[in-house]
């Protein structure tokens, strides 16, 4: 039983990472109906920036905050420069554009920092704390904590600020929001900025665990997709619940069924995507889209 709870907690830690990236995807999806395939690579790029800050002697939490600010600005800039010109074009065009960004940013990361695998320091100690017969690592608990705080802050922002209200309004009904004075274009850019910052959180939390390399987020992006699909692609609550549930599920699968251990965890993520699409395509919290013809 001790092993079970240990696996649940470390599953929650990976789940928190998936949840942050999944939430980033969902924010962009809600505001523009597009999946940003470059979300993972943007997070990797930000994490490499954080590594550079740390390398220059800035301590962890200031570097963390600085990275979030840069990622936010980068996200806003990317939306303004690359995505805005194709606003109103078919979704396919925008999706292919984000695939271009994926390739471009991944290539740029390798160009700037090289392909070598690096160690990324963890702000938390890996020392275990003992509860009964189970041993939980402080790092796992810290990761869950940071991801949940990020999500909570974002929720407060969306719920209780005027800007958050504007963002939600622009996502639900851009036409009418424009009429009441919401600057919809800037709201989209803001959404991209918040997503980029959230992605950076997941990148900086996962890097100490999997080591920092330019392709580190490819697998995480797969899990974030699975989490978002599981929760329902347009539901922020769903992304968080889906991420945490997925982390625990994959951990337990890997522990008790050796087939899904190691690299096969990726196949587990794929299986979750396909199973959700077969059984309940709108996910746990999604609503069936009703279209007026």
């Amino acid at each position: 039983m001790a092993q079970f709870w240990q696996q649940v907690v470390s599953g929650l830690a990976s789940g928190g990472i998936y949840a942050s990236l999944a939430l980033a995807l969902v924010i962009v999806y809600r505001s523009s109906g597009v999946i940003n395939f470059a979300q993972g690579e943007m997070a990797t790029f930000a994490t490499f920036l954080a590594w550079t800050f740390l390398h220059h002697g800035i301590s962890f939490w200031p570097a963390f905050a600085l990275t979030l600010a840069v990622a936010f600005a980068g996200g806003v800039a990317l939306e303004r420069v690359v995505i805005r010109p194709v606003e109103g074009r078919p979704v396919l065009t925008v999706v292919i554009l984000t695939i271009g960004l994926l390739i471009l940013i991944n290539g740029a990361t390798q160009w700037i920092w090289g392909g070598a695998v690096r160690k990324f320091p963890s702000p938390f100690s890996t020392r275990p704390i003992h509860v009964g017969s189970a041993a939980f690592s402080i790092q796992d608990i810290g990761i869950v904590g940071v991801c949940l705080v990020a999500v909570a802050l974002l929720t407060l922002f969306f719920r209780f600020t005027k800007l958050g209200l504007g963002l939600r309004a622009a996502a639900v009904n851009p036409e009418e929001s424009r009429l009441v004075g919401v600057r919809v274009g800037w709201m989209l850019a803001l959404g991209w900025g918040l997503s980029a910052a959230l992605g950076a959180v997941s990148g900086m939390m996962v890097a100490p665990v999997v080591f920092l390399d330019p392709n580190m987020m490819q697998g995480i992006l797969l899990y974030a997709f699975a989490a978002a699909v599981l929760g329902g692609l347009e539901s922020p609550v769903g992304a968080v619940v889906g991420g945490l549930a997925l982390g625990v599920l994959l951990n337990l699968l890997g522990t008790y069924f050796s087939t899904f251990g190691g690299e096969m965890r990726l196949v587990g993520g794929l299986a979750v995507i396909l199973a959700v699409l077969l059984i309940r395509p709108t996910g746990l919290f999604g609503r069936t889209a009703v279209r007026r013809v």
Partner: protein, 306 residues
């Protein structure tokens, strides 16, 4: 219409002649490079049926190429089947896998297909390593070598047949249904076209092409392992598709040439340069020239007519 048909036929015959005599003028090494162009062309034809004509995008065509490649390799290495006969089988296996995969992935919008195919491309190498008994794991499977000229003619005759088949399919009511769904799903549904059926069919056809291309990769490199079909292959195919032009089958040649030759030339700048350039090209094309090379051709053509 008949004039267009005559023009297309003339264009096809001229192109076929050029392709047929080209190996007389280039070295054997270059013939192999051009054989690869033919292979990418086949893969892009399939991707174009899916993306250009029915409005879905696949980020995992490398994985479906891998299914075809492994089908051929296993038949050749374990069962002693002659290379050429494995090609149609590889197409059918990959096409069948595509139909099975499209069924859940296409229940909602095309975005889910993009997302699920990305997951397939990322997860495929793990699967190939897992079933080591069939796939040879990381060591892969070694096949028989062929001469470069033979590979050149093999891949280009299949590319030619694939182009004709693509035209044929798109000229039938099936092709019209694809375009109808792409242009307005609502209007298509009200005319009695089942979106799930036709989208899955488009994905099946496109996976069939991918399987054939993958089989040709296996035969021409005489070797497959999990790294033969990396995720970057899937992504570069999307670049080639966009550059060649969505919705233009012959335009895909331009995309195939880009996929084959850009890495060689860009590597002179830096080892990482090809990827940055591919990404920048894709972003640039989507921003400035959504029709790709074929769109540019049409633009020049229409500006010349007063």
């Amino acid at each position: 219409m008949s004039r267009r048909l005559a023009l297309n036929t003339a264009g096809f015959v001229v192109a076929a002649l050029v392709v047929a005599v080209l190996p007389r003028f280039i070295s054997s090494y270059h013939a192999l490079e051009w054989a690869n162009v033919g292979i990418y062309f086949v893969a892009l034809l399939g991707l174009n049926v899916l993306t250009g004509y029915s409005g879905q995008v696949s980020l995992g065509h490398g994985a479906f190429m891998a299914i075809g490649g492994y089908t051929s390799a296993i038949l050749i290495a374990h069962h002693g089947v002659h290379d050429v006969w494995t090609i149609p089988l590889a197409g059918l296996v990959a096409g069948g896998a595509g139909l099975g995969f499209g069924l859940p992935a296409l229940r909602l919008t095309g975005l889910y297909l993009a997302l699920a195919t990305f997951a397939v491309a990322v997860a495929f190498p793990a699967l190939a390593r897992k079933f080591e008994r069939f796939t040879g794991g990381n060591a892969g499977l070694v096949l028989t070598l062929h001469t470069n000229d033979w590979l050149y003619y093999l891949s280009w005759s299949i590319a030619g047949a694939g182009l004709l088949l693509g035209w044929l399919v798109l000229a039938t009511p099936i092709g019209r249904s694809f375009r109808a769904l792409r242009d307005s799903e609502v209007a298509a549904i009200s005319s009695g076209i089942s979106p799930a059926l036709y989208k899955t069919l488009a994905f099946g056809i496109s996976s069939f092409y991918a399987g054939i291309a993958g089989s040709l990769v296996a035969i021409s490199t005489a070797y497959v392992n999990p790294q033969t079909f990396p995720i970057t292959l899937s992504l570069f195919l999307v670049v080639g598709l966009a550059v060649g032009g969505l919705g233009s089958l012959p335009g895909s040649v331009v995309g195939a040439i880009l996929i084959q030759f850009l890495p060689t030339y860009a590597a002179h700048v830096s080892k990482q340069a090809p990827q940055v350039i591919e990404g920048a090209i894709l972003v640039g094309v989507m921003l400035l020239l959504p029709g790709g090379a074929a769109g540019l051709f049409r633009l020049v053509q229409s500006s010349r007519q007063p």
